[in-house]
Symmetry: C2
Subunit: 219 residues, 2 copies
DNA sequence: CGACTCCTTGAGCAGCTTCAATCGATGTGG
DNA sequence: CCACATCGATTGAAGCTGCTCAAGGAGTCG
C-alpha cells in the first residue's frame, strides 16, 4: 500500500546521513497546519521529512479532495513535473525537513550520490503509487482501512508490551480522502475493528494493534 | 487523468529522435497478446512504445486485477523499483518498441541527454499517477469513463469531419480494471453516452466523439 | 455452421454514501 | 471553576450507486 516515498530510511544510509555538500543543508521546521507549497507553484527544491508528518493533497473544483500521500520521516516529497508542484503540501504536526535543490535531481553532476538517492526515491514512489492504485480501485472499505493500519504499523509502529502502537496525526477525513471513502465509513470501520478485538483505541489518534495477524488477513 | 507516461512525443524532440548511442537501438516488435515482462522480473531495460499499445497490470492473489496504465506511442515503461518490475506488461495489439539499457536511467554518464529524457519521463509519470488517484478515489462511474474517453480523444484521436474518432484496442474489462469498475458498468456507461448523443460507436472498438464539450463537462 | 469470446442488457442486492443527530474533547469567557 | 461554543468523531436510518448473477446478442474463427 502506498503511504510514502522513501529514499531509504535505514540508519547509516546516504539519505539520512548529511555529510557532504547539499547534505549539509540545515533542517528547518514547518509549523503544524502550515503549508510547504501549493499546486501549481514552481518547484525550486525537493524536501525530505526528518520528523513529523506532512500531507499531500489535490482538489477538484467542486471541493472533492484526494490525499495523495502522507510524508513520514525519511520520505522525499516535491518531485516536479514540468517544473511545477502538482499537489498541495502541508504539515499535520510540527515537522522538520531538509531541502535539496531541484538541480540535485535534474543534474547529477554536482553530487552524484545525492542524485542517485533522489532518483531511487522517485522510482520507489512510482512503485508505491502502483500499490495504491490497487487499493483505491479494487479493495473494499475494510480492506482499505486494514491495509492502511497495517502499513503504518509496520513502518512507524512502536512496541508496547506484546502489542504495537501507532499514532495517527491525521484526521479521519484525511484517512477517508486517502482511501477514497467517507469519514463515516472510516469511523465505522474503526469501530468494527475495535469491536472484533483487532485494535484498541486510546483516544482518537492512538491505535493499539492487538491482533496483527488478523489485521494482515484483512488486507 | 492517467493513461500513459510520456517522455515527450512532440515531433523533433529527443525522445522520438534516435540519433546517438543508445538511440540507435533498432525497434523491435511485440506480437499482439505477448508479454514483454512480468511482475518480479529483474529490470534490465526500459522501453518506449513507438507504435501499438501495451497494458500494464497487477494482480491480487484472489484474481482481482488493476490495470495500472496503457502505454501509447511515446510512452516509456518499465521503470524499476529495487531493480524489479512491479507490473506485468503485454501487448494489446502488435506493438513496436525501442529499448534502453537500465543504466541509461540510473547512470547518466554515458548519454546525459537520454538520461534527462528518461528522468523527465519518470517525473511525468509520477504526476500522471497523481491524477489517476483522484479518478480512482473520488469520481463516479460516468465521470471515470468520460475522463478516460476525453484523454484518449485528446491525445490519440483522429479528426473525422467535424468529430473526432478514437480506437480502443483494449477490452471493456481492461477499461473496467483501469477505472476500478466492472465490465457491466463500463458497458452501461458507454450505452448511456451513446443514447445521450455524446458519442457514437462504430463497432465495439471505435468511438466517435459527437459532443466533445459535453464529454468534458462530464469529467 | 457452430463454438467461442466479448459485449450488452436486465433484475435484485449489498456496500457505501448521504443526511442527521449525538457524543466527546478542547478551548474560551464570565 | 464551570457554562458554553466549537470542531471532530461516532452512530443511526434511509437511499443510491455500482456490483452480482444471469441471460441473450454480436462478432470472429475454425
Amino acid at each position: 500500500m502506498y503511504v510514502t516515498m522513501k529514499i531509504d530510511a535505514d540508519p547509516g544510509t546516504y539519505a539520512l546521513t548529511p555529510s557532504l555538500g547539499e547534505r549539509q543543508a540545515v533542517p528547518f521546521t514547518l509549523k503544524e497546519h502550515s503549508c510547504l507549497y501549493f499546486e501549481g507553484d514552481e518547484v525550486t527544491r525537493l524536501y525530505q521529512v526528518i520528523t513529523g508528518v506532512v500531507r499531500l493533497t489535490r482538489l477538484l473544483p467542486d471541493g472533492r479532495r484526494q490525499v495523495i500521500a502522507f510524508g513520514y520521516p525519511g520520505d522525499v516529497i516535491g518531485f516536479p513535473a514540468d517544473g511545477r508542484h502538482h499537489t498541495d503540501c502541508d504539515a499535520l504536526v510540527d515537522t522538520t525537513l531538509r531541502s535539496f535543490k531541484r538541480s540535485a535531481l535534474e543534474h547529477g553532476d554536482e553530487d552524484p550520490d545525492l542524485h542517485d538517492a533522489l532518483l531511487r526515491a522517485a522510482l520507489r514512489e512510482i512503485s508505491a503509487m502502483q500499490d495504491h492504485f490497487m487499493m483505491l480501485g479494487r479493495k473494499s472499505a475494510s480492506e482499505k482501512v486494514a491495509s492502511f493500519l497495517a502499513v503504518i504499523t509496520e513502518r512507524h509502529g512502536r512496541d508496547l508490551g506484546a502489542y504495537r502502537q501507532i499514532t495517527l496525526p491525521m484526521a479521519r477525513s484525511d484517512i477517508a480522502d486517502f482511501l477514497g471513502l467517507t469519514t463515516e465509513t472510516v469511523s465505522r470501520t474503526f469501530t468494527l475493528l475495535r469491536k472484533s478485538g483487532v485494535i484498541a483505541l486510546d483516544g482518537v489518534h492512538t491505535v493499539i494493534v492487538l491482533d496483527a495477524d488478523a489485521l494482515h488477513a484483512m488486507t
